[in-house]
Amino acid sequence: MLKIINGGIEVLVEDWPGRLGYLGKGMSASGAFDNVGLGLANVLVGNPSGEAGLEITGGFLEAEFTGDHVIALAGTDMQPTINGQPVAMWTALKVSAGDVIKFLHIAPTGFRCYLAVAGGVDVPAYLGSKSTCIFGAYGGFDGRALKPGDEVKFGASSADLSALAGRKLKAEAIPQYSNEWVLRAIPGPNTCPDYATQEGMDLLFSRVSKIQHTSNRSAYRLEELPASFFARADGGVGGSHPSNIIDHAYAIRGALNICGNTPILLVADGPTLGGYMCALNVINADLWKVGQGAPGRDYMQFQLSSQEEAIEERKKQKQWLSEDSLA
């Protein structure tokens, strides 16, 4: 078990691929914002890569273990310590009852850190997933972020703890972080010539845009697009702005919603349906990068991809998030 001393900025229980199959019921998938971070941490401690762990955003979590466990930390380096001693990222670590783990703030790159524990985080699955949907306040740990006094239970490890401790990743398996994230994306469903201009789409796929500080687990907002982006004068019956259309379901996670002139990436907890056009989708295998993008600091750029490449990348990612990545 883990007793929370300080919940920090935001710590959530998340798994992967999250709560699938409820978009039509108004429930997005939620899930780990960076599934690569969670996946690699899980591999290190011998869990299936999608097992639930703790998603630590921003930093400052402080908590005490009440038993012997093996954990791993993956993601941005928040200078974690156990009982005041620095500990390694991307490594399976043995912890004992009474050990206090403490995180500082985010590194110059990356925004989220994942804590996986052998046996996984033990919260009841809701509609097939242990993920927290923070905007709807359901799933995970009582549908909310962890706070002081919370006691987070862990499952039993299937492997012998002493065999797990010390496991490391191959150097090439550790993801490369940046302040300028290149996201491969597939255009659609609303592009040129009917909704956007060719010039507008070219701009969308070439410019570098800062992640706005108003971004969160539902929406990552980017810089405004010029009026020349739109091919229509208005949205007809859908509304007065050319970004308006009659409500349609959003292809989340990963759809880029054009809301007025503001492009918004709809991510983990995003809305499942609405009245704005969508110009592209980030490929599933690149969604993790969005989760490591720091609002107000990092930049994003879209790079044209294809369905074929996206499927290839899904397969590669499965391989990446497996024991093949262990050193």
């Binding site: 699938l20 199959g21 409820y22 978009l23 039509g24 019921k25 108004g26 429930m27 509609l127 709807g136 359901y138 597939i186 255009p187 659609g188 469903p189 609303n190 592009t191 040129c192 009917d194 956007a196 060719q198 789409m201 949205g235 007809g236 019956v237 859908g238 259309i245 009659i246 409500d247 349609h248 379901a249 959003y250 292809a251 990963g254 759809a255 809305p271 499942t272 349906l273 609405g274 969508c278 592209l280 989708n281 980030v282 490929i283 599933n284 044209l304 369905q307 996206a310 499927i311 899904r314 397969k315």
Partner: protein
């Protein structure tokens, strides 16, 4: 088809007498959007057909199809591209479309849910008062502390007439989304099709069970949340996170696609008592009839002289009302 870098239409089916053109639009590596027609229009007959096709698609239990998410004129298919390829998926939808060649073939399973409603109840009045105090003190859509008079004004009718129209039609669920358990309910009778603008800016709080209208759609709020629809009353729970009541044993949702809702007026006391019987005692019995919608019959009724005359009369009143009602 052109071969532009941003060409996203993967395939099409031509328009027929009983169906609009079908467009298959690329929407990432795990989704494809099926769009009906190129024009932005909201017609229930399009939705009836699409949902009937959707039932056929779901009935095939295709491996790799995760879910379908119908809107009023689009259906989003969510799939695992490692289990089924997009080409196979499109071919399956085409087969489903072709299996309903005429309008006579379009028969849609549709339950009729009877929901009690208390107009102008004290809980939704609290939400309006909170909005006026904390968000927009000069909101022109609040008259005598509520939205009903403004709704009536927009439609060129009285508040009493407004209530009669809400009670006088069945409200069709074209598909859920946006908020957990939510459904977008459209009037089936065009003679009752009131239309109102949405709040500007939105509310920060709405009670569970609040009933509101925005544009042409009614929404019954499933949990306390913000919102932008004009409020006129409160109904009973249509969602239960805890899944305690037998109605919610398979999931927290009451509504299914293609359900129709019919409201009947009761006292606020009665509505409030039902909350206890749904959430605590779990012994309330929901009144739900099984049924179906035959598209051909609906279209004939919709196009009949009597219905069209009544619809035109309401439209004329709305045109007058829109001139008088302040914009939000």
């Amino acid at each position: 088809m052109s071969q532009g870098r941003f060409d996203v239409i993967l395939d099409t089916m031509p328009e027929t007498e009983s169906r609009l053109e079908v467009l298959f639009r690329q929407a990432g590596d795990g989704f494809v959007q099926v769009e009906y027609g190129r024009e932005q229009r909201a017609m229930l007959q399009d939705s009836f057909r699409m949902l009937a096709v959707n039932d056929i698609i779901l009935g095939k239990n295709l491996k790799g199809l995760i879910e379908t998410v119908p809107g009023i004129r689009t259906n989003l298919l969510h799939f695992d591209p490692e289990a089924v390829d997009v080409r196979g998926l499109i071919d399956m939808v085409k087969q489903a479309e072709d299996s309903m060649p005429t309008i006579d073939d379009v028969v849609l399973k549709s339950r009729l849910i009877h929901l009690p409603i208390a107009f102008e109840d004290s809980e939704t009045k609290k939400a309006v008062a909170k909005y006026q105090k904390e968000v927009r003190p000069d909101a022109p859509n609040i008259i005598d502390g509520y939205n009903l008079e403004y709704m009536a004004m927009c439609n060129g009718i009285t508040a009493e007439e407004c209530k009669k129209l809400i009670l006088g039609t069945d409200w069709f669920n074209s598909g859920g989304g946006f908020w957990p358990g939510g459904a977008f309910l459209w009037p089936t009778d065009p003679r009752c099709a009131i239309v109102v603008p949405k709040y500007n800016p939105p509310r920060t709080w709405t009670p569970e069970g609040a009933v509101g209208i925005g544009g042409p759609c009614v929404f019954t709020y499933t949990t306390p949340t913000g919102g932008g629809y004009q409020l006129f009353g409160r109904t009973i729970p249509v969602f239960q996170f805890a899944c305690k009541h037998p109605m919610f044993k398979d999931g927290p949702f009451l509504y299914r696609n293609a359900d129709r809702v019919r409201f009947h007026e009761v006292s606020e006391k009665e509505v409030v008592e039902i909350y206890g019987h749904v959430h605590d005692k779990t012994d309330y019995t929901y009144e739900i009839d099984q049924g179906e919608i035959k598209a051909k019959e609906y279209i004939a009724w919709f196009n009949s002289e009597e219905v069209q005359k009544g619809a035109a009369e309401l439209k004329a009143k709305q045109a007058e009302g829109t001139k008088k009602a302040p914009r939000l």
